[in-house]
């Protein structure tokens, strides 16, 4: 298996690219061949992921494994350096899995205008970027992968989106472009400020920002913060998200929610915290503040929605608030919870968007006022919605809980920070956050249950009484069952994730004494 | 004669040429004004060359004279072309492209 250790990550990142090339060379008329090729490519990628899972040394989860470190752009000292550790692994696998499921879901659900070739090609390109971001260990490589995802998503929203798609697509792109420009600038600053002049994350993390004046560090961290916060998205940089989600085609929303949002939070954990720990200490109370604002604010906005997808989109803002709160505590509890929260949110919100897409496909509307009685017309779909809602509101025993509760828990006792917000008492600051976040869980239950009530419960509205509503299709089942199973499995036995992450997270948090 | 006197002459010629370029409506006159400016440069070069005993200034001037000839040739061709198409050598009337 030695060759596998060396090649696994390269394969994981570039098999989709090969698939993409293959898809491009198949004439558009051969739809079946295109679909099969794309599916095979994504499955092969997933198989590599399974291989990585099997071969991963879990007792050394804190160490980078499957390292590839080859020359890439010597001129700027950027290297083709990739590796996985316990933080990357779950997200990498999640991304591989979601791509497969999305392709399966699309099988008979290609959005209009009907063009499976382009659609699948874009999904595969997305896969390249997503997988690459999670394994890159070089800042420039990370940046490139981080940006690769923009183009396919831009086209996905812009071509296959809803009526307001152009606005949403451009907004999405500009926001993230703006963020990543600042991020790149920060990377360069890190490069030149650190005495080693390197883009290698492990070295930079070891270096830990020593020798950089704290003011400069805070400034550079600010750049990283904006870049990542926009992607997360954190309040108040979130406004691209509802539009993008609302307009995007189902699969686009799913990938956006499940994977793309994780890139930002992952960036915080992987890059911002380890490389600039002193600045992280200074920024943490503010990040925490924005996180709890997002929790409450996102929830309140949810309550005002009539559009199902838009509601779910705002719920992402709220849920990512918990993730960010966990990160802001700089403790191993918090960061573990954040990684878990990312995976859980990926599975759950991904599924929610799937279901919302299927509802829209059947009823041709997402207006919750017009919907109702889904449980009567399509009971299975209704139950899946109900299940996902329960998972999303953080019901213990399902995956969502393990991202939420430990994050709240961690806010009780954050790592030693530079200062707090209220009269400088960091403990008080974060304990206030804790209470606010806990209140957020009630609001979450509120908006999700109200959505469930309006969509699934009650009687069927007159306009749809005589419409034939097909219950869950085969392709939908295949796409959803893995998610359902994972949500339950992770909820019942959370150590599935925690035992992978804890080592790597300890590496991050030990700098902060947590 | 001092070097400065040549330089002032050259500057004066250059400005005169520039004024001609700006003020003349007739394309041919504009071309002649340009010629004036280039010759101002030549005076400069030759003057420097003479005062510093460095021959490359004069070589430079020779090159400029040659190239100026070519430029004016092209310029005249363009003005002619415009005259043929617009039946006027007036540069005022050349303003289709804008915005």
């Amino acid at each position: 298996m030695h060759w596998f250790d060396d090649w696994a990550l390269t394969l994981a990142v570039f098999i989709p690219l090969v698939g993409l090339a293959a898809v491009l060379f198949i004439p558009r008329a051969h739809e079946q061949a295109i679909k099969t090729t794309a599916l095979v490519a994504s499955l092969a990628t997933l198989a590599v992921g399974v291989g990585i899972l099997a071969d991963f040394n879990y007792s050394q989860g804190g160490k980078l494994q499957f390292i590839v470190d080859k020359s890439w752009i010597p001129l700027i000292k950027a290297r083709y350096h990739m590796g996985v550790d316990g933080i990357s692994l779950p997200l990498l696998i999640l991304s591989m899995l979601m791509v497969v499921l999305c392709i399966i879901y699309s099988w008979n659900h290609f959005p209009e205008p009907h063009n499976p070739k382009a659609f699948l090609a874009l999904i595969l390109l997305l896969a390249v970027g997503m997988n690459g971001t999670f394994v890159a260990q070089d800042l420039i490589l990370f940046f490139v992968f981080f940006e690769i995802v923009l183009l396919p998503m831009f086209f996905m929203i812009g071509v296959w989106g809803g009526p307001n798609r152009q606005y949403a697509a451009i907004k999405f792109f500009l926001f993230t472009l703006f963020g990543s420009a600042l991020m790149l600038v920060s990377f360069l600053a890190i490069f030149f400020l650190s005495k080693h002049q390197t883009f290698q994350m492990p070295q930079l993390a070891q270096f830990g920002g020593s020798g950089i004046a704290s003011g400069t560090q805070a400034l550079v961290f600010g750049g990283l913060f904006l870049g990542f916060a926009i992607k997360v998205p954190m309040f108040p940089f979130h406004t691209w998200l509802p539009d993008a989600h609302t307009e995007a085609p189902t699969v686009g929303s799913v990938l956006l929610a499940a994977i793309l949002l994780k890139l930002g939070a992952y960036g915080f954990i992987r890059i911002a915290l380890p490389i600039l720990p002193a600045a992280a200490r200074a920024w943490a109370p503010w990040i925490g503040l924005l996180a709890v604002i997002a929790i409450i604010y996102g929830a309140l906005c949810c309550l005002a929605q009539r559009d199902m997808k838009r509601l779910i989109a705002f719920s992402s803002v709220s849920h990512m608030g918990f993730v960010m709160l966990g990160i802001a505590t700089l403790t191993s509890f918090g960061i573990n919870a954040a990684v878990f929260g990312m995976v859980a949110h990926g599975l759950i919100t991904g599924l929610l968007f799937f279901v919302a897409g299927s509802v829209q496909e059947r009823y041709k509307t997402r207006e919750m006022n017009r919907l109702g009685g889904l449980l009567t017309q399509a009971p299975k779909l209704g139950w899946i919605l109900g299940f996902t809602v329960m998972a999303s509101l953080g019901l213990p025993g399902l995956a969502g809980f393990w991202g939420e509760f430990p994050a709240i828990l961690s806010a009780y006792n954050p790592a030693k920070l530079t200062q707090g917000l209220f009269n400088g008492d960091q403990l008080l600051t974060f304990r206030v956050y804790l209470v606010v976040a806990a209140i957020g869980t009630v609001l979450a239950a509120g908006y999700l249950l109200w959505m469930l009530q309006r969509v699934a419960f009650g009687a069927v509205k007159a306009e749809f009484e005589n419409v034939h509503i097909h219950d869950v299709h085969v392709s939908e089942w295949i796409a959803w069952v893995p998610l359902l199973l994972l949500i339950v499995a992770l909820g019942i036995y959370p150590n599935l994730i925690f035992h992978i992450t804890h080592g790597a997270v300890s590496n991050v948090s030990k700098v902060f004494g947590g | 004669m001092q070097l400065n006197e040549f330089l002032i002459l050259a500057a004066f010629l250059f400005c005169t040429g520039a004024y001609g370029v700006l003020a003349r409506r007739n394309g041919v006159l504009v071309l002649m004004s340009i010629e004036l400016m280039l010759n101002a440069v030549n005076i400069n070069l030759v003057a420097f060359s003479a005062f510093t005993k460095n021959v490359s200034g004069q070589i430079f001037a020779l090159f400029i004279i040659t190239i100026a000839a070519a430029e004016v040739g092209v310029g005249l061709a363009i003005v002619l072309l415009i005259y043929r198409n617009l039946h006027s050598p007036d540069l005022d009337e050349v303003d289709q492209l804008k915005g």
Binding site: K171, L174, P236, T239, W240, Y297, L300, C301, L303, A304, Q305, S332, N336, G373, L375, T376, L395, P396, G397, F401, W402, F405, P406, I408, L409, Y412, L434, V435, A438, I439, T441, V442, L443, G446, L449, W450, Q453, F457, G458, Y493, P494, N495, F498, H499, H502, V505, S506 | A18, V21, L22, A23, R24, R25, D90, L91, D92, E93, V94, K98, G99
Partner: protein
């Protein structure tokens, strides 16, 4: 079985999965699977109980329990104390610290598992008849199984996280079951209300657990209790945790002021109500209080007399619950308020240091409250699915079994000697008095009076007089009556478990923890007080009975609410449930959903997004300006301006308004000239 207590919750959980996936094709459409699982669970619970009793009885002089008590918890109750049995496996980890999931079995646990599985078993049997023909019959049994499993998980939890898991699952199951008939918007509204209200309380649980974790350093229940009793506990943190947990209890156990969901929860099927009120949902709060009692005891400094929050909440709830029970016309709602009131007794008992009394009351209450609900269900099942007492009456003859069991339940609830309720309620009152909480003793007595009175009203309205409905009532079938009879028997006999005058104090012996527990002195049986309370109850029955029997003749009272403004407003106050629902639903909930949410969204769309769009349109505007004005006009305009200036200077330049090319040239020269000058000046030093 004590080591393998995980089997007890697992059986119904497996049944849940089995019913969901195979229920429709299995015999009894899933009902049999559920009954079999919970039955097996019940057996296992009984075995566990037996083993525990044996263990306690053997414990004198032996210390074999010590080895089983892990996680560094050492005995605090002397060498001979019986240790709980804990088992644990790694569940999740953080850094190098591993957190377990497992079982914590002691007397309280075994008592609870027996009660929960028994009630659940009876309810499921009852449901086979009651729910027959329901369109989601199979799903109903699946949900009941999950409900039971969740409650059992909570009960056997070895740590607070697991307890939280069970707690939330119980909540969601009650959501599903209350909203079982979700076609009616009212039902799903009630379900959501129940869920949200209890979840509001759960904030307290969550925060309480977190405070305890960071104070104690462990989620373990044993460790937490040991810490709380250790003497070096930080009182401030315990107090904070106790307050938070009390909020959780208030939410879950329907205590004032978060009790309003409980009556609405009657929207669910009646057997579910029985389960919720007797065994699974609402008693979780009281169980929490009992489980982590040292935290409350030391946090609230219970046992030092005076008033503490816990006792106060319980006491207030007793009265307000009982008072509301008077004005209900729906039989289930009366019972619901009665539950609220009875739970108030338990919470108050905990608050006044009467731990074993509280647990004892939980135990007995489970039986008679389940009995009453199932009885009410039986009535409505027979009388056209109505719970409105105005449409009942005179059912005494038509449904004798239901009638007699219901009367037993009512008497037990009213605390009439020698039924179960008497013993437990009496113990609460005695201990309240003994521990110096005289005020709460009085409250308890008033409560007893009210309880007896409103139950008399219910019994009268339902079973006496003439039948006022339009159906043909008849006795229910055996699947319904057998549970009633069993529960009736238990309502009579369960009190003997801890009948002090008879020398039976098994709750104290078997159930009360012997390690990591505050030192409590249980009061001896007090005859005067017992007689007093029974007399009060009897008096209430007599007075109420007299009022209802002779109502027509008591003109002074008839129409009192119409004539007397004070009485009317009092009545209105009660009918409107102290306006709490109005406060919660119309002001808080609608406020958040409506005004606050809409305002936030408005801010989002107009302020935050506005900034973004403003930036966008702003830069477009800048672009337009740059292009139209700067590039196309200022450049040109400057040219024109300069041209004008030059124009004045010399007449020759009149024809200067040449074509664009020359304007460009002008700018070129102008720029060059100016910049040269500037550079010259800069570099001149």
């Amino acid at each position: 079985m004590l080591e393998n207590a995980w089997i007890i919750p697992t059986l119904p959980a497996v049944a849940f999965v089995a019913i969901v996936f195979f229920g429709k094709r299995s015999p009894g459409k899933g009902a049999f699977v559920g009954i079999a699982a919970v039955g097996a669970s019940f057996v296992a619970s009984c075995v566990a109980a037996g083993q525990w009793i044996q263990r306690v009885d053997n414990a004198t002089g032996k210390s074999e329990g010590l080895a089983a008590f892990t996680k560094g918890v050492v005995s605090a109750g002397g060498a001979h104390a019986v240790q709980p049995v804990t088992e644990s496996i790694t569940w999740w980890q953080n850094g190098s610290i591993k957190f377990g999931v497992g079982t914590f079995v002691d007397g309280l646990t075994v008592m609870m598992v027996v009660v929960v599985t028994l009630i659940s078993l009876l309810v499921q049997i009852y449901s086979t008849a009651y729910m027959r023909g329901d369109r989601r019959y199979t799903w109903y049994f699946a949900a009941l199984s999950l409900f039971t499993a969740s409650m059992l998980t909570l009960v056997v939890a070895s740590n607070t996280i697991q307890l939280l898991v069970g707690w939330e699952l119980v909540g969601v199951c009650s959501f599903m079951l209350i909203g079982h008939w979700w076609e009616e918007p009212a039902n799903s509204r009630a379900a959501i209300k129940a869920f949200l209200t209890t979840r509001t309380g759960d904030i307290g649980l969550m925060i309480g657990i977190i405070i305890l974790f960071f104070t104690v350093g462990s989620f373990g229940i044993g460790a937490t209790n040991l810490y709380a009793t250790s003497g070096h506990a930080q009182h401030a943190f315990l107090l904070a945790a106790a307050v938070c947990l009390l909020v959780a209890i208030i939410g879950k156990s329907g205590q004032f002021p978060l009790h309003t969901w409980l009556p609405d929860a009657m929207a669910g099927p009646t057997p579910v109500s029985a389960l919720i009120h007797a065994a699974t949902m609402v008693v979780a709060g009281v169980f929490l209080g009992a489980r982590l009692y040292p935290v409350f005891f030391n946090g609230f400094s219970i046992g030092h007399g005076g008033v503490n929050a816990m006792a106060l909440v319980g006491g207030v709830t007793i009265i307000i619950g009982a008072a509301l029970a008077f004005v209900q016309t729906d039989i289930k709602k009366v019972l619901a308020y009665s539950t609220i009131s009875q739970l108030g007794y338990m919470v108050m008992a905990l608050g006044v240091g009467a731990w074993s009394a509280a647990v004892f009351h939980l135990f007995t209450h489970a039986f008679f409250k389940a009995l009453l609900f199932l009885g009410a269900g039986s009535v409505s099942h027979a009388a056209g699915h109505s719970f409105d007492m105005r449409e009942m009456g005179g059912l005494r003859k038509k449904m004798p079994i239901t009638f007699w069991t219901f009367v037993i339940g009512s008497l037990a609830l009213a605390g009439i000697f020698p039924l179960a309720g008497f013993w437990s309620k009496d113990e609460i009152l005695v201990n309240a008095g003994k521990n110096g909480y005289t005020a709460f003793l009085v409250v308890g007595l008033i409560g007893a009076f009210l309880t007896a009175a409103y139950m008399t009203r219910v019994v009268y309205l339902t079973f006496f007089g003439e039948y006022r409905g339009h159906e043909h009532p008849h006795e229910s079938e055996r699947a319904i009556t057998i549970p009633l009879v069993i529960l009736g028997a238990l309502s009579v006999g369960a009190g003997l478990v801890n009948a002090a005058p008879l020398g039976l104090e098994k709750i104290k012996d078997w159930v009360q923890p012997q390690v990591a527990f505050p030192h409590l002195n249980n009061a001896a049986f007090d005859y005067p007080k017992a007689i007093l309370s029974v007399s009060i109850a009897l008096a209430a029955i007599v007075i109420a009975g007299y009022y209802w029997l002779r109502r027509d003749e008591l003109r002074a009272f008839r129409g009192l609410t119409e004539r007397n403004a004070l009485a009317r407003s009092g009545y209105q106050f009660l009918v409107n449930k102290y306006y709490l629902d109005y406060l919660y639903e119309d002001i808080i909930v609608d406020g958040i959903r409506g005004a606050v949410a809409r305002a936030s969204y408005w801010v989002n769309q107009h302020v935050i997004d506005g900034v973004v769009n403003g930036l966008g349109s702003g830069s477009t505007r800048i672009a337009r300006y740059t292009y139209d004005v700067i590039d196309q006009r200022v450049v040109d305009g400057a040219a024109n301006g300069i041209a004008l200036e030059t124009d004045r200077a010399g007449a020759e330049v009149r024809g200067f308004q040449s074509g664009h090319v020359q304007r460009y040239a002008l700018v070129l020269f102008g720029g060059v000239g100016l910049l040269s000058l500037a550079l010259f000046l800069i570099n001149i030093h």
